[in-house]
């Protein structure tokens, strides 16, 4: 099966000399849920920006569905850590926006937007503005907005990190339900190892900045998974311990660097 995403020897240097990525190789198979874990600020988000075509690599190659990324293209969804809904558009108009941008005929766009708003449990909130909703509800709107145009690849940058623990568990379960059987490829960035293991088929541990791939693990926990239950699975604990060994060094190193720099 052709890989959904491939990064080959990718470097990313920002103007000013900061190196976010150094020699990153990454291979994401189609239909897989892959989590990228690493200490905060290690270049995970930059990796997603490169895949989305929002940034260009300084060296190396980024391929999406075997085509080199030269800019923002269609077929990719992106859930940002920060709120990215347009505050001047209602829930309905936010969800319908990608369809309108794609010139989907109005009737069909309206129906699809309404359908997805219902599927994320927000029926009745169509006419509300984002600032009138809770953080969890806004994330649902963002999810509906992304799923509405049916992208084959979805990039998620710590999408639930700003939510409280209960809302987060709920959102993770909903995400798994929406994804299961959809055949979509997900790259999910997080600094939370538990979240990564509970959700993903495969966890990639990255080194602290500049980021490289340190290790990858297959998460063989059976699906469908329920977040609260999967954490009790003994295999979950084993995986957690193994990965934490890798991650701990990186976290300590990035902490040491932060404190010595500060």
């Amino acid at each position: 099966m052709q890989p959904a995403i491939r990064l080959l020897g990718v470097d990313k240097q920002f103007p000013g000399g900061y190196t976010a990525l150094k020699g990153v190789d990454l291979h994401v198979a189609t239909g897989r849920f892959v989590a990228l874990v690493g200490p905060s600020g290690c270049g995970k988000s930059t990796t997603l920006s490169l895949i989305a075509g929002l940034e260009m690599p300084s060296a190396g190659h980024v391929y999406v569905r075997e085509r080199e990324v030269t800019g923002v293209g269609g077929g990719i969804g992106f859930l940002f850590q920060r709120d990215a809904l347009l505050p001047w558009k209602t829930v309905f108009d936010n969800v319908a926006l990608p369809l309108r941008l794609r010139r989907v005929p109005n009737a069909s766009a309206q129906q699809r937007a309404a359908d997805w708003i219902g599927r994320v449990g927000l029926r009745g909130f169509e006419k509300n503005y984002p600032h009138e909703l809770s953080g969890g509800m806004r994330k649902r709107v963002a999810l509906a907005q992304t799923l509405a145009y049916d992208p084959e690849i979805i990039l998620m940058d710590e999408p639930f990190s700003a939510l409280d623990v209960q809302t987060r568990d709920l959102m993770e379960d909903e995400l798994l339900q929406l994804w299961q059987g959809s055949g979509k490829t997900i790259v999910f960035v997080t600094h939370d190892l538990e979240e990564a293991i509970a959700l993903a088929d495969e966890v990639v541990v990255m080194t602290s900045g500049p980021a490289r791939v340190k290790a990858r693990y297959d998460v063989t926990l059976p699906r469908p998974r329920v977040i609260e239950e999967v954490r009790m699975d003994p295999r979950f604990t084993d995986l957690y311990r193994a990965m934490w060994n890798d991650l701990r060094d990186e976290v300590l190193e990035s902490y040491a660097r932060a404190t010595s720099a500060g």
């Binding site: 923002v72 992106f78 940002f80 920060r82 709120d83 990215a84 001047w88 558009k89 941008l101």
Partner: protein
Amino acid sequence: MREQLQPVNRWSVLATQIALTLVVLLLWEAGGRAGWVDKLYFSKPSDIGMEIGQWLSHGYILGDVTTTMSETLIGLAVGAFAGIVLGVLLASNRFIGAVFEPLLVLLNSIPRITLVPLFILWFGFKMESKVASAVALVLFVVFFATYTGIKDVDPTLVASVRVLGANRADVIRHVLMPSALTWIFSSLRTAVGFALIGAVVAEYFGANAGVGYRIQYSEANFNTAGVFAGLAVLMVLVTFVDTFIVWTQRRLVRWK
């Protein structure tokens, strides 16, 4: 004990405002009648009222107001439009922005009133010179508001909308313009006053109609009441336009 924040009663605010205005007017009137203030320089409210009444009965005022308002509104429209277009252009294209931004800052530092004689030289005593003077004042206010409003936009919103499938024009339409709109509207409120200043000052320099001309004419005839009457008319005009802008703003920026 915690202090409670009582909401201010808007009727008592309004009543106090009216009372204060009346007190000032009455003191002014009394001062004028008793000779505490020199009527030649300060006039008195009753004379000013009479003057306005006379203007109304002679029908001068209608012509003057129409002239000044047309100049102001055309100046406002042209200046705001040019300011918005320039703002969008300079803020959305980094090269053009880098080239022209310092230039506009430089031009903005010119006291615009000093350009009025130049405008009269170029465009004559007719309406065009007044509109030009209003435009010169409005343009920069609206330009800087639009420019800042667009530069101020959250980069995450732009990135998100691009991934959702927006091209350059879509980004301007769905993200940059709405974000700038709040800034533009608050600048428009300032701009109304500026447009009126531009029009009136240009009338004052040389015209044969308009409220500014009426003020200048009254002043030349030592008619202080006429000068104050002109100012009162201007105040009413600005209040009307400002109310209209606030009303439009409420309708267009409903998401706040």
